[in-house]
Symmetry: C2
Subunit: 343 residues, 2 copies
C-alpha cells in the first residue's frame, strides 16, 4: 500500500495519540499536537481517505478516529521505528539481570519478570527445547518396593524427574543394571541425539526378558520427549487489568482463561514467526489465531545461544500497545540473553 507523505503523517499521528490516550483522535487534536502545517479541514479530508482505505475507523459519527487492525499493521510495517531504550533503562536492565544467577533458565525467567514489570504488560517465554543440551546424569532410584523415581540432569543444571509405579517389585540388582544401561545409552549425548536413539537398543535387549520393563521404558521415553518439548512461563498476567480497554470483567476473564491454557499459549508462541523468520514478530489482534486474543497483540523475539534458537520471549497487551517501545525492549533483552551473558 502506497501512501502520500502527509497521509502517513496523519496516520502516524492518530496511532501515536491513540496509543497514548486510548481516546479517539480528532482532526483538531492532530493539528494542535503534531504540526503538519495544514488546517483541521484538510486533516479531515485525509482522514476520510484513510478511513476509506481501511486504515482507521470511527467508533461513531461524531467521534474521532481510531486505528484499525490494518492501520496498526501498516504502522508497524512501514512507519514505526524501534525505540532505542534510554541508557538509564538499559543500565537498569543489565543491573537487574546481573545478580547471582544459577542457571541460564533462571536468567531467562528473571528477564521475563523484568519485562512484564517494565512494560506493564504480560510477559512470557517459551523455552523451545533442551534438545541441544547434554544429558549428564540419569538415575533410577527406588523409593519403595513398587516405586521408582527417574531423574535426568542436563549440563545446564536442569533437572527433570518422574515417578514410576510398578506392578510388581523389581530386585535392586535389575534396577541397577537397567540404570547402568540407560546411562551408557544416553549420558553425554544431547537430548536431540537420544531422542533419535529412542532406546531401541535397550528395548531389544530387555523387553523380551522382563515384560514389566516395557512400562518403565515407555515412561522414560515419554519423559525424554514430552517433558523436554517446551516450557512456558508467564509473568505479570494481571497487568492486562491495567488497560482501559479491559475494564470489563468478561473480557479480562477471556484473556486470563486463555493464558491458563499452557498448551494453546505454547502453540501461539511457536506460531509467531511463521513465514518471516525475522528476529521480532508482531501479531496484531485477529492475526493471533485465537478468538480470545482478538483485542490483543503479541510481540515476540527469539533468543539464541551460539546461533541456535533457544527460545522466545514475548509481550501480550491490547492492540493499542506501544509497539515501538515494546519492540525496543524485546530487542534489547533478547540480544542480552543471546549475547550478553556467557553461560
Amino acid at each position: 500500500m502506497q501512501l502520500e507523505d502527509r497521509k502517513k503523517k496523519v496516520l502516524e499521528a492518530i496511532i501515536i495519540n491513540y496509543i497514548a490516550t486510548a481516546e479517539p483522535v480528532g482532526s483538531r487534536t492532530i493539528t494542535k499536537k503534531y504540526d503538519l502545517g495544514v488546517s483541521p479541514a484538510t486533516i479531515r479530508n485525509e482522514m476520510a481517505d484513510l478511513e476509506e482505505m481501511g486504515l482507521i475507523e470511527q467508533p461513531h459519527t461524531s467521534a474521532g478516529r481510531i486505528p484499525s487492525q490494518i492501520g496498526y499493521r501498516y504502522y508497524v510495517d512501514y512507519l514505526m521505528e524501534k525505540e532505542n531504550l534510554t541508557a538509564e533503562i538499559k543500565k537498569y536492565i543489565r543491573k537487574s539481570l546481573r545478580e547471582e544467577i544459577k542457571a541460564k533458565e533462571d536468567l531467562v525467567l528473571r528477564a521475563v519478570r523484568l519485562l512484564s514489570q517494565i512494560s506493564n504488560h504480560t510477559a512470557m517465554t517459551i523455552m523451545s527445547t533442551y534438545s541441544q543440551n547434554v544429558l549428564t546424569h540419569i538415575q533410577l532410584l527406588p523409593v519403595s518396593d513398587y516405586r521408582l523415581v527417574l531423574i535426568l540432569v542436563l549440563d545446564n543444571g536442569h533437572v527433570e524427574h518422574q515417578i514410576m509405579e510398578l506392578k510388581q517389585a523389581l530386585p535392586e540388582k535389575d534396577i541397577n543394571e537397567l540404570a547402568e544401561m540407560l546411562r551408557q545409552a544416553v549420558c553425554g549425548r544431547t537430548v536431540e541425539q537420544w531422542r533419535k536413539i529412542s532406546l531401541a537398543s535397550i528395548r531389544s535387549q530387555w523387553e523380551d526378558q522382563i515384560h514389566l520393563l516395557r512400562e518403565i521404558l515407555d515412561i522414560i521415553e515419554d519423559t525424554l520427549t514430552v517433558e523436554f518439548e517446551h516450557k512456558l512461563y508467564l509473568s505479570g498476567t494481571l497487568n492486562i487489568m491495567n488497560q482501559p480497554e479491559f475494564r470489563d470483567v468478561e473480557k479480562v476473564k477471556q484473556v486470563l482463561s486463555l493464558l491458563e491454557e499452557q498448551r494453546i499459549m505454547e502453540e501461539l508462541m511457536l506460531k509467531t514467526d511463521e513465514g518471516e523468520p525475522q528476529t521480532i514478530s508482531i501479531k496484531i489482534g485477529k492475526e493471533n489465531e485465537n478468538e480470545s486474543l482478538s483485542a490483543c497483540s503479541l510481540v515476540t523475539a527469539t533468543y539464541h545461544i551460539n546461533g541456535r534458537i533457544m527460545g522466545k520471549i514475548g509481550l501480550l497487551g491490547p492492540t493499542r500497545m506501544d509497539y515501538s517501545r515494546n519492540t525496543g525492549l524485546l530487542d534489547f533483552i533478547s540480544r542480552y540473553l543471546s549475547e550478553g551473558v556467557e553461560m
Copy 2:
C-alpha cells in the same frame, strides 16, 4: 447471643435467600418463600430487631436486608448444618479421584482441582510439610566444573533439587566423599529428624578443611528446611470472576493479586484454625487478616494420614458463599484424603 426461635428463622431465611440470589431480601419475600405463618409486618419488626443486633444490614433505606459479617458468623456457628452431599456427587468425586495416581501429592492436587470445579470457587491446598517423610536418597551430581546439582528424594516419591554454583572447581573425589557423608547423615531419617541434626557433625568435620564447603552446606541446609516447609497450590483462581459481587475489575484484581503472593496465602491458610483446632474452619470477611479478602470467606479443612496432620484444603469465595454446601464438600474430600485411600 440468644435469639428467639422466630428470629432465627428469619435470619436464616434472609441468609439462605441472599446466598442464592445476591439480592437484598425484603419482608414480603420471606413470607412468600418461607412459610413462617406471620405477615410481612411482623417480619419487618423482627428484621428491625435483627438489624439492631447487628446481624443484618440495609444497603439503603428502601431496600431489603442483607446479612452482615456477624450475621454470617451466627448462621455458621448456630444455624447452619453441614450439607450432606448427594450420593451422585460422592460417586463422582470418588470416581474422579480413583484413576491412576502416582503419589499422594498428585491425589491431593487432583482433589483440589475437583473442588474448585464443583464449587465454582477458588480451591487451594497447603501441604504443610514433609517433615514425617523419610529421605531415601541424596545425590550430589556435578554438571560442569563449577556447578553441582543437589537432589533429594523422599519415600513418597517427592523430588527436590537445587543447583549450586561453586567459586572454584571441586575434585570429584571430594564431591563423592561429601555425598557419602551426607547420605550417612540423613538417609533413612525423616525430614524432621534431619532438621534437628542440622548437619552439625558434617560441618565440624569438614568446614575447617575446605572453606568452600561452608557454602555447599548452607545451600543444603536451606533446601532441607525452606523447600520442605509448605507447598501451596491453587486451582480455579479465575472463578472469583463468576461472582456478581466481583463485577468490578478493581476488586477482582485485588483478590487475584493476593492469590499470587504465595507467602501471604500460606500464612493465611496456616492461620485458619488458630484457637479452635476443629476439623473445619471458616473465616468470614475481615476475619481473614488481610484487607484484600474483606469481601471473601475462606473455608478450610485439614486432612490427616495416620493421625498426623498432612495439610489443608480450602475454598475461597465471596462472603456470600454457600457455607453449608462448601463445608459439606470440604468435609467429604478431606475425609477421603485422610482415610479413603491408603498410600
